[in-house]
């Protein structure tokens, strides 16, 4: 068989064309539908936790578990309350037994009696999904089971999730866990079924002290937005660059 240089180049060109044309029919990416950011929605759900007001009653955790059908006794939860007791000598005691579901009814921590006169600071911090603007969990999902809605909430498609657990590893906040009944990744949804009906999330509604608030960041008249815009608030683990959208009042450096 003989093949001139001219034929080789010609055939290479044809073969390249032939192989690229059918690929364009895949329509894997439709750039027209991909916009740079959430531009259209006029709702962006955000959360505000006031650690000064939290008393560690754990009613939010109890309500969340009941509302969202998270199995009550296994040590899994969509939201939890952490207790921080920082001593005058620099020692710190941090715990969250069962996510604080049953409240904090004992002065001792990990069976250590804490002398009251040695306590410098003592407070409670509640945690929940940060519904990040750039969610690491969504980025790593190999099957498109987890996604962000246009109003900023990250959800998991229970029919689509294969339970690989990448998202559980990717979340810098450890918010995700494996649902033992549905056998899929599970996370806080900001009670999406409630907030779209104009209700508060279960944890917000059942918090007696207004330590938890939910609001719409795109509404300048929203009381939560006003606090976030005008008062001193901070977020957890800003350095991960996921742009978390749960804001805190009164965080301490010991809170991670």
């Amino acid at each position: 068989m003989s093949c001139s240089r001219r034929d080789l180049l010609k055939n290479t060109f044809k073969a390249t064309l032939a192989s690229t044309l059918p690929l364009s029919a895949f329509k894997m990416l439709s750039p027209a539908q991909v916009k740079a950011s959430v531009g259209d929605a006029n709702v962006r759900w955000v959360f505000l936790v006031d650690t000064q007001k939290c008393v560690g009653c754990g009613l939010c955790v109890k309500a969340c578990k009941n509302e969202n059908e998270v199995p009550y006794d296994p040590p899994i939860t969509r939201t939890w309350v952490e207790r921080y007791v920082l001593m005058k000598n620099g020692q710190s005691h941090i715990e969250s037994p069962f996510g604080g579901r049953d409240g904090y009814t004992d002065t001792s921590i990990h069976e250590n009696e804490i002398p009251a006169d040695q306590i410098a600071k003592g407070f409670f911090v509640s945690k929940l999904c940060n519904q990040c603007k750039k969610p690491a969990c969504v980025q790593v999902c190999p099957v498109g089971a987890t996604y962000q809605t246009l109003d900023g909430v990250v959800l998991v498609d229970r029919k689509w999730c294969i339970g690989c657990g990448y998202c559980i590893m990717a979340c810098p906040y450890g918010m995700r866990f494996f649902h033992p009944v549905h056998k899929v990744a599970e996370k806080c949804t900001f009670c999406y079924h409630r907030i779209i009906k104009g209700m508060k999330t279960a944890c917000v509604q059942n918090c007696p002290f207004e330590a938890r608030l939910i609001g719409n960041l795109k509404d300048p008249n929203d009381p939560v937005t006003k606090i976030i815009m005008n008062q001193r608030v901070s977020v957890l683990k800003d350095e991960y660059g996921t742009k978390p959208q749960v804001y805190y009042i009164g965080l301490d450096t010991n809170v991670r």
Binding site: Q33, G56, Q148, K159
Partner: protein, 157 residues
Amino acid sequence: MKNHVLRPLFVVIIGVALLLVVRHFMVPADFGVQEGGNFTYNFHRLSNVEDWKNFKVKYRGREYCQECHEENAASILDSPHEVIQCENCHGPAIDHPDNPETLAIDTSRAQCLRCHTYLPYPTSQRSELPGIDPQDHNPGENCVDCHNPHNPDLENM
């Protein structure tokens, strides 16, 4: 063109065609069609948002309880416990009074101790709540035997 060039080309074309056919039937029509969105190109089923929207609401809030239990709601709203939602002790209403017909009230000591165990934390609102030492204050007794949760202050009873 020679046969040995065409044959693998046919294999590739058939493979691509097969992939497109399988993909056509396997990928739902609403997959990856959402407008807008972020860097993840919206690779998800749009209809799943509806699934989450239709999730059952269980905690109905005080306004729902008040529709029938007006007196009970009024009594707690008149007490220092006004900040506590009905369903925190009475349990989630769900579809009460149809389903469940009755709600189990949590009258346990543990329920009261969630807030009323005194914790000496100077930087938390917890230390400002009326609190007891549970080892010291009638241990083992049910709080509700003396205190009415809808009117907890013993001096006002």
